[in-house]
């Protein structure tokens, strides 16, 4: 019942000061929007940059030290190592098409569509569908959907070209298929010629050492350029975003403080009267803090919405795709809005508590 009347008087008070509440909420909105956009874009960039860089290759390449290959089990063992995000095996060999030797690259069927390659045609679907490098299209006069016969050591297999790959590397002059298909057409059942590892940035040396100690014949190469570029770029972006966010939060806090300060000053007489009517410091601060919480909630929600839209717009412009913002971000945005509003209201409200009703009510 008491709560009901608190809300009644609170609503009346806020309605009277809609303008000030709107200004303070707008300041919080700005800070929260920027924070949301920054976090969203940072997370998005990390994701997108990762997948863009993935297109250039993994950041660790494991190949046999001497002539030879790895058993397929080595792949599972590497994938389980700490800080390894992804690992995939490759079958590298050759086969013959129309008595002409053609390179074969066998990769994990599940990863084939997530390599970030540019494909003309469609991704392979059935057991007999494969991709061909764009250079082979002209050399072998291939067409999308065309059937070809590959032959190795007297074994013939019929395959269908579902599309062509253009990557600017060895893939452009090879037949690309699943590991199982590659084993069949190259006659290397159960063996891998290379393992590509994607490790966490900053942990590549550790991962390399772990692979070397686990596999006797492994030569581990870290693709430093890729890894360093990724780490350095992300670090700089994050630092810049953090600094800008801090500056805006500070500016927003000053704006809320001055708005609340003006609010308190404007309501000096009201505070004096409330004190004369028997309101304790807690009673009075409750009204102001509730107003701060309201400002925080409005600013937090509006800021999240604005920040989300901004992050999507930035991502669309930079990566031509939208980003997913992690679930805890809306809650964090709301909390941050409330914290900024309450923190900024602390000093003005503390000042209000010190008003002497005897002096105020005399009109001095």
């Amino acid at each position: 019942m008491k709560k009901r009347w608190f809300l009644f008087f609170f609503r009346k008070s806020v309605a009277q000061r809609r303008g000030r509440v709107a200004i303070a909420s707008a300041a919080v909105t700005l800070a929260v929007a920027l924070m949301t956009a920054m976090i969203g874009v940072t997370v998005g960039i990390r994701e997108k940059l990762g997948s863009e860089l993935k297109a250039y290759g993994a950041n660790i390449i494991v190949s046999p030290l001497r002539e030879g290959d790895f058993a397929y089990d080595a792949l599972a063992m590497i994938a389980k190592l700490p800080s390894v995000e992804d690992a995939t095996g490759q079958v590298l060999g050759n086969t013959f098409v129309d008595q002409q030797a053609i390179e074969v690259i066998g990769i994990d069927a599940k990863k084939i569509s997530s390599m970030g390659w540019r494909i003309f045609g469609k991704w392979p679907e059935g057991n007999d569908e494969i991709l061909a490098g764009i250079n082979l299209k002209a050399a072998l006069r291939l067409q999308e959907g065309q059937r070809i016969f590959v032959e190795k050591d007297g074994t013939k297999k019929e395959l269908v070209i579902s599309g062509f790959v253009e990557k600017g590397g060895a893939e452009d002059r090879a037949l690309i298929m699943t590991i199982r298909q590659a084993w069949t057409v190259t006659g290397t059942e159960g063996r891998l010629q290379s393992i590509l590892v994607r490790g966490k940035s900053g942990q590549l040396e550790t991962i390399g050492a772990a692979i070397r100690s686990a596999l006797d014949n492994a030569a581990v190469k870290t693709v430093r350029q890729v890894a360093l570029a990724e780490e350095s770029l992300l670090g700089k972006i994050q630092l810049l975003m953090m600094l800008v966010t801090l500056v805006v939060i500070f500016a927003s806090a000053i704006s809320v403080t001055s708005t609340m300060g003006a609010n308190v000053l404007e309501r000096r007489e009201e505070i004096g009267l409330m004190k004369a009517l028997g309101a304790t410091r807690r009673n009075i601060s409750l009204f102001y803090m509730a107003e701060a919480v309201l400002i925080g909630i409005i600013g937090g929600l509006a800021g999240y919405a604005l920040g989300f839209l901004s992050a999507q717009a930035i991502s669309k412009g930079a990566f031509n795709s939208y980003i997913g913002i992690p679930l805890p971000i809306p809650l964090a945005a709301l909390c941050m809005g409330v914290i900024v509003a309450i923190g900024s209201s602390y000093f003005p409200v503390r000042g209000a508590m010190k008003y002497d009703p005897a002096i105020i009510l005399r009109g001095e």
């Binding site: 009267l273 004369a276 009517l277 410091r281 009673n283 009703p357 009109g363």
Partner: protein, 223 residues
């Protein structure tokens, strides 16, 4: 035992002596008017009785309890339980209606009750102004809302600081008649500060102050 007992009250500000040793007792239900020139200390004494201010030295006993050394929050609780205030300026909340202004005093005391607040305004003759905001009321009507607000929680003491200071003679009379009627019905104690000799005659006792001291203490028999 006197209901209000002030013993050796001294109030000093940085460079001024507002009260220089006040000793006075006020019986329960008495209507006492304080008069004196500006700066004589009458409003300061009123604020000390009303626990809006604390004395530099001395004791303020109200119903046997010394309130001179209470904490700020304890003073607030004491005010809400025992005291009703009327000020020269009405100090009504501008965005609340007449009845809501009365209900705000109920809210800080215990619980707002619209019916009780309405009855209080009917009692001061404002049944036709319940939903009006202060800016829509005349000065006299605003002071009547203040009387309703001051008395809604049935205080034992009504403190009025120049309650008719901004009113013309006709409205002053209306307010004083109203106070007289309600005081006769409820017998609470009234301490009223005024510089108007006409108003000063409307009590049972006149305390004249000058330069922080009691100059004259005169008992009337008007009520």
């Amino acid at each position: 035992m006197a209901f209000i007992e002030l013993k050796g009250i001294i109030k000093e500000y940085k460079t001024t002596h507002a009260l220089r040793g006040i000793d006075v007792t006020i019986e329960k239900g008495q209507w006492l008017n304080m008069v004196g020139p500006s700066g004589s200390g009458k409003s300061t004494l009123l604020n000390i009785i009303g626990s809006l201010d604390s004395p530099t030295a001395g004791e303020v006993l109200i119903d046997g309890r010394d309130i001179s050394r209470l904490s700020e929050d304890d003073m607030a609780v004491f005010r809400r339980e025992k005291i009703g205030f009327i000020f020269q300026q009405s100090h009504l909340i501008p965005y609340l209606s007449a009845v809501e202004n009365v209900m705000l005093a109920q809210y800080f005391h215990s619980m707002s009750d619209e019916k009780e607040a309405t009855d209080a305004l009917v009692r001061v003759g404002l049944e036709h102004r319940l939903g009006h905001r202060p800016s829509q009321l005349s000065g006299g009507e605003q002071q009547r809302v203040c009387i309703a607000r001051a008395l809604i929680n049935s205080p034992q003491i009504l403190l009025a600081d120049e309650p008719t200071g901004n009113l013309d003679r006709e409205n002053t009379k209306i307010i004083l008649e109203l106070l007289k009627k309600i005081h006769a019905e409820e017998q609470f104690t009234i301490v009223l500060v005024t510089h108007d000799p006409f108003v000063a005659q409307w009590g049972q006792r006149i305390l004249t102050m000058e330069d922080g001291k009691i100059k004259c203490d005169e008992f009337l028999c008007r009520l």
